[in-house]
């Protein structure tokens, strides 16, 4: 019998952790972008603009939630929910510290990848049901892109799982602590690169933002959304970015542990270390977003099928050989 209080507490932690992550990354993205472009960014919102995500949320709540006429309203209304659900699901597994984790499934990585592919459904139905040619094209492009980049994401993680011999995320971090070096330095550097590129594509961020290509498709599958539904897509996008960076730092950068610090205190400095690693990865993504133009649709697919997947397979081969040799 699962006791309800335990579930509620975990849900509370996950919710708090997720929403704060989305807020941090929104600030990072918008403020970082404006500094990079020689402008001050949002200023008059309060605290020199740093609480602007709060203002954003309130703005979208008071905006009218338009459902265009000949739209497939059932699907249209529930599409954002799928995307948000798939992103929330990922938070359960990521360990902030050995004890502070939603539930340490021993099939952690498997669960992670299964849930993250649910968002493809949400995006496709959003594009298809908006009865607008531009969002239809945006939705189809999103489907093609997310499925194409699912594969390198999984294959990159397989390398890590082979090296760590366990699927549970806490186990992977323990393995890195015991091994001394985080996986990115001990053999999984290539997998880390592939994972980051595939993660950028999963988040639909530039240079892979074809589904929301503003200059071609007005704003892809998001064109017809406004008000709270657009807010859900908006938060889901930044939460997705936060969680994928958190997963990347647990799998590759050693999770809640830094090689030099003593292991006993891990419960105290664990969360801080994980958050700094995630924010660092997030900053790299922001830097990439504002300095890259956008790929064309077929180049995007070529990169996935002809470059990333062979490299990921090669990485798995090398890891397994190294596994056998040592």
């Amino acid at each position: 019998m699962i006791d309800i209080s335990q579930v509620m507490v975990t849900a509370g932690i996950v919710l708090a952790f997720a929403l704060n992550g989305a807020v941090i990354f929104t600030i990072l993205d918008v403020k970082g972008a404006s500094w990079m472009q020689r402008r001050p960014g949002p200023l008059h919102v309060g605290l020199r603009g740093f609480i602007f995500p709060l203002a954003e949320i309130i703005k979208f709540f008071q905006k009218e939630d338009i459902t265009p006429t000949n739209v497939d309203s059932a699907v249209f209304k529930w599409a954002p929910a799928y995307v948000l659900a798939s992103v929330f699901g990922l938070f359960v597994v990521v360990p902030i510290s050995p004890t502070l984790v939603g539930s340490d499934l021993d099939l952690g990585v498997f669960y992670l990848l299964a849930i993250s592919s649910l968002s493809t459904l949400g995006v496709l139905t959003a594009g298809w049901s908006s009865a607008n040619k531009y969002s239809l094209m945006g939705g189809i492009r999103a489907a093609g892109q997310l499925i194409a980049y699912e594969l390198p994401l999984i294959l990159a993680v397989v390398g890590v799982v082979i090296q760590a011999e366990t699927m549970s995320l806490v186990g992977i971090v323990e393995k890195q602590i015991e091994f001394g070096l985080p996986f990115v330095l001990s053999g999984q550097g290539l997998a880390f690169l592939i994972f980051m590129i595939a993660a950028t594509a999963e988040m639909m961020r530039v240079p892979f933002d074809m589904p929301i290509g503003e200059s071609e498709l007005v704003s892809g599958f998001l064109t017809e959304y406004s008000g709270v539904r657009f807010l859900i897509f908006y938060i889901a996008e930044y939460m997705n970015m936060f969680i994928l960076c958190a997963v990347a730092s647990t799998l590759f950068l050693g999770g809640y542990h830094v090689p030099l610090l003593p292991v006993e205190w891990v419960n105290f400095y664990g969360p801080v270390v994980l958050i700094t690693k995630t924010v660092f990865l997030g900053f790299i993504l922001v830097l990439v977003r504002w300095s890259f133009p956008r790929f064309r649709e077929d180049q995007l697919q070529n990169l996935a099928w002809k470059v990333l997947i062979p490299l990921a397979l090669l990485n798995i081969l090398i890891t397994s050989i190294m596994k056998v040799v040592f």
């Binding site: 500094w35 020689r38 001050p40």
Partner: protein, 161 residues
């Protein structure tokens, strides 16, 4: 001479430029290219064509500016008045007095033909630019409003040789 710098792959140089930009924006040393408008005002060039100022007593309502205006946005009405004769016993001279001199800034395209054509130096340019209105009707400035702009006319600035 272009200083030798290792040729980073293209996108890394791009990211380097953005990083330097970020540091430049955050560091108080570098000049801030933005003007925080409502709180800081931008210094406008003295010759900027912001608004047209009218010097009422110089204007003899000769209608040249109203006729040369391409947009037909200057409306003038005047009447004649008798002046006391210059010398005692001389003939009474008549002088045109301005009744109405409106410039409709909703139509005006700030081309400056009226200021250039006026033979009596009655119209001047001022770099004033904060006179936007909520409804278009108020953009029709009458002659007293044009007179007020006169004191914002900048002094003559130095010239290149």
């Amino acid at each position: 001479m272009k200083k030798f710098r290792p040729k980073l792959p293209g996108f890394l140089t791009g990211m380097k430029i953005l990083l330097f930009n970020m540091i430049k924006t955050l560091s108080p040393l570098s000049p801030n290219p933005n003007v925080n408008y409502p709180f800081e005002k931008e210094i406008v060039a003295p010759r900027a064509r912001g608004v047209i100022a009218l010097d009422q007593d110089a204007c003899t309502s000769c209608m040249l500016c109203a006729r040369q205006c391409p947009d037909w946005c200057i409306y003038i009405e005047g009447h004649k008045e008798l002046q006391p004769p210059a010398k005692p016993g001389g003939r009474q001279r008549s002088r045109a007095v301005l009744d109405r001199f409106d410039i409709d800034y909703a139509l005006c395209m700030y081309c400056g033909i009226c200021v250039e054509v006026c033979p009596f130096d009655a119209l001047f340019w001022t770099p004033e630019y904060e006179y936007s209105e909520y409804n278009m009707g108020d953009m029709l400035h009458d002659k007293n409003r044009l007179d007020q702009w006169l004191n914002t006319v900048p002094e003559v600035e130095g010239l290149e040789n």
